[in-house]
Each structure stands twice: as structure tokens, then as C-alpha cells.
């Protein structure tokens, strides 16, 4: 644990302090992994994306400037990575993540019935997320899990704030339709 800010940690890592990077990874690794996971629904792809994202951070360490908030900088790299991923997929004519079935992740619980119900809910939510177009999914995830404002999201995705908001609205309308069958007590 350290009191150093993310920005200071990144500068320290650029100067050779490996522990600073470990601390940054401790602070941001899991959150980013889950963002990728929710985005693509595939744990193996999420691992690859996380690895690629932090490798880009490592490569760019000497170009990092502390005026850029580290969290936003990291997520911007992640979003660029997702864009590149989609380009690659469309070039190869493969199916995008949004069309794949979400993979089940291991769960631990004492009550098998409750576990099954939860599993069913998670799969429904993940499937609904994957049904969204990539940019709508990104805006919804960044707003929900990172709490970024639409202006911040717009800057990260190279959109206008109004366009980011519009994508969030459309995404929410689709989510609402897809999840309308869920009863309130399920959530």
C-alpha cells in the first residue's frame, strides 16, 4: 500500500520503480479486467486484452505526462484496444464479441438453487450487454462501472458529448427491452 497518486506511481515506474507498477496494477488491474470481461463476455479474450493494455502502458511509460489523469489515460488505451480489436475482426470477417454467447465463469456458493438463479440472471444481463453495438456498450460500461461523465467518455471515444449521451440512451432502451422479462426482485 502506498499514498502515492496514480500519476506519481506511473512517473516512478518510468524511472525504474517496479513496485510502483505493481501498485498501479493492484489498483486498476481487476477493474479493467472486469470491464473487458463485461464488454466481450469471453474470459480468455478479456485476459488477452488486459495483457495487451498493460503492455501498451509499459511501452508508453516514458511518454506519460502527469497532467493526464492515469485512470482516464488507461481507459483511453483500453478503448483504443477495443477499437483495434473490432477492426481486426471485421477485416478477417469473423464474428464480433457481441454475437458470441457469454462464457460461464466459475461461481462459488453454498445454495445450489440460489447459485442457479444468479447464474441465470448474470447470463441474461451479459447477453443483453453483448447485444448492444460496440460503442453503446462502451458508453454504458464506462458510465456504469467507472462513473465517468459523458464529457469524459466522449473524449475517450472521440465522440461529441451529445453523441455519447445519445448512444447511452439508445443502449439503455435496448437493455430495457432485453431485460424487461426480469422481475424487480431478480435484480
Amino acid at each position: 500500500m502506498t499514498d502515492r497518486s496514480d500519476e506519481q506511481l506511473m512517473l516512478d515506474y518510468a524511472s525504474g520503480d517496479v513496485q510502483a507498477f505493481e501498485e498501479l496494477f493492484r489498483r486498476h488491474g481487476q477493474k479493467l479486467y472486469n470491464l473487458f470481461l463485461r464488454y466481450c463476455g469471453d474470459p480468455h479474450l478479456a485476459e488477452d486484452l488486459l495483457q495487451e493494455c498493460f503492455l501498451r502502458v509499459i511501452e508508453a511509460r516514458n511518454r506519460y505526462r502527469s497532467e493526464n489523469a492515469f485512470g482516464r489515460w488507461l481507459v483511453t488505451i483500453a478503448m483504443n484496444l477495443l477499437r483495434d480489436h473490432h477492426r481486426r475482426i471485421s477485416r478477417r470477417g469473423e464474428r464480433a464479441g457481441s454475437e458470441t454467447e457469454p462464457e460461464a465463469l466459475p461461481h462459488h456458493g453454498a445454495n445450489p438453487q440460489l447459485h442457479l438463479e444468479r447464474q441465470h440472471l448474470h447470463e441474461a444481463v451479459q447477453k443483453a450487454l453483448l447485444a448492444l453495438p460496440p460503442e453503446q456498450r462502451q458508453v454504458i460500461l464506462l458510465s456504469k462501472y467507472y462513473g465517468f461523465s459523458f464529457a469524459e467518455i466522449a473524449a475517450m471515444l472521440n465522440l461529441s458529448p451529445a453523441a455519447a449521451k445519445q448512444k447511452a440512451y439508445r443502449g439503455m432502451i435496448t437493455l430495457r427491452e432485453k431485460l424487461a422479462h426480469l422481475k424487480e426482485h431478480d435484480t
Binding site: 515506474y13 496494477f25 509499459i58 516514458n62 439503455m172 424487461a180 435484480t187
Partner: protein, 293 residues
Amino acid sequence: MTCTEIQQRMLAAILEGAEPGHDAAVKAHLADCTACRSALREMTAAWQALETLPEHPVPAGTKRTILQRAREAAAPSGRALLSGLRAWLLDWRNPVLPILMGLLTTSVFALVLELHMDLSLIPPLGLTLAGAMWTGLFALVFYLFSMGMRLQEHSWRFLAQTSLVAIGIFFVITVFSPLPHSVRFCSNFNLTQPLMERLSIGGAYFVFGVVYALVPMAIGAFVAAGRYAGHPLLRGSLAGGVFMLLLAPAIFLQCAPFALGVVLGWFGGALLGSLIGGALGYWIRFRALRQSA
């Protein structure tokens, strides 16, 4: 308001983390509209459903690979050390580069002065103090410049840029025509001799001091003023003040063999020339830009 408009408002509130029912128009509409009440339930449920997705830890293998790569990249190698040094030097908060630049500039300028006068006339302590002071002043101005660049503080950048350009021009003029040489030449030149006789030696240094500061400062302020707008008198004279600080050690080093009247005349003239030159150069450029706009 239509149901579509109400539902858009409710969505906006949910996305921004607000309570949709707090909006008076929405509240009034919901009281009578079953469809919108049901829509609100569904929207809230969909948004809350996203919270139910569990958090998963990063798989140990992935974590190990990433941290291993971070360690390998940070391991010192010739190239990494060099780029680390470069990043450290260029960090605007680091004063080492401005100090080095200050030392370099002072050394070059001292060398220029040495070519035209005998610096050994100044006692070693005075020489050391003047050199240290000059280095410090240059370092401060270079630091101000890099800070202004990085923080987009145009006023600081203007002060530093103007005074650095002006001191550069002053030294170019000094190489070709040192001020004491000019005074001596005018005192012996037929056309200017009567005027120079009327002025005392202190007065002559005052007049030349004004010209030798005004011209570089006016050019410096003219060059740097393009990016900035407003307050020509204030900004120009402030930049003139900074230039005067950089100029003072140069005058001190050149004045050592002279009488007090000459020293005071030169300092007074340089101060006046710096302030007028700064304001004048800035004002001319400012006015030209305003007219062309």
C-alpha cells in the same frame, strides 16, 4: 409532455445517477400514466441489473505475465537509461535543465564580454558572485519559460520569451559594437562631439544605456507579443523588468573600471530603455494585430 419525452427524461436521470421521480413534470406524469410507470420500473431494473454482474479477480497467470513484462522493461539497459534520463531532464518540474541552460548561457555571455574587456580587473569574489547571480537569473527565466509552456501560462511564457530574445539581441549588438566603444567613438566623431561634450560622461552612458536596452527589448516584445492580447503597457514593462534583471550583471561586469557616475548613468538608462522598449514593442505589435483583425 408526451410519454416519449417523459421516458427520455427518466432515462437521462437514471444515467446521471439522479432520482427520476424528483423531477416535478415526471412525477405529475407518472401519477396518471401506467405505461410510463411500467417503463420506469423496467429502466431502473435494467440499470440495477448491471450491478449484479460479479467482480472476477485477474487470473494468476495473466497477472504474473504482466508483472514479469513490467519488471523486464524496467530492468536497466543502455537505451532505457538514456530515455529515462531524457524524460527526467525534460520534466518541467525538474530544475536541473534550466540550471544547466543558465550555466551555459552565462558562460557564453561571459566569454563574449571577456573578448571586449579585461574581466581580471574585477576582484575574484565579485566575479564569482556576479556569475552565480547571473546563472541563477537565467535559470529562473528558463524555468519560467518551461513552466509557462507546460502549464499553458501565456503570461509567464511571454515574460521569459521576451527577455531571453532581448538579451540575445543585446549580446549580438555588444559583440559588434560594445557600449563603451560607441561612447568613445561618438566623443571623437566630429558631428556628435559637441553634443557629447554637452552631456557629462554619466549622461552619455545614460543615453546610450537607454538605446542599448530599448532596441533589443522593443524587438523582443514585438516578436513575442503575437500570441498574447491586451495590457501592452503592463505586460511590456513587466517583461522589461525581467530583461533588466538579466542585463544588470552584464552592466556590472562591464562597469568595473568606470566611475560611479558612469555606472549609475548606464543602470538608469538601461532601466528606462527596458521599460519603454518592452511597452513600445508590445504596443506596436498589439496594435498591428488589432488593425489586421
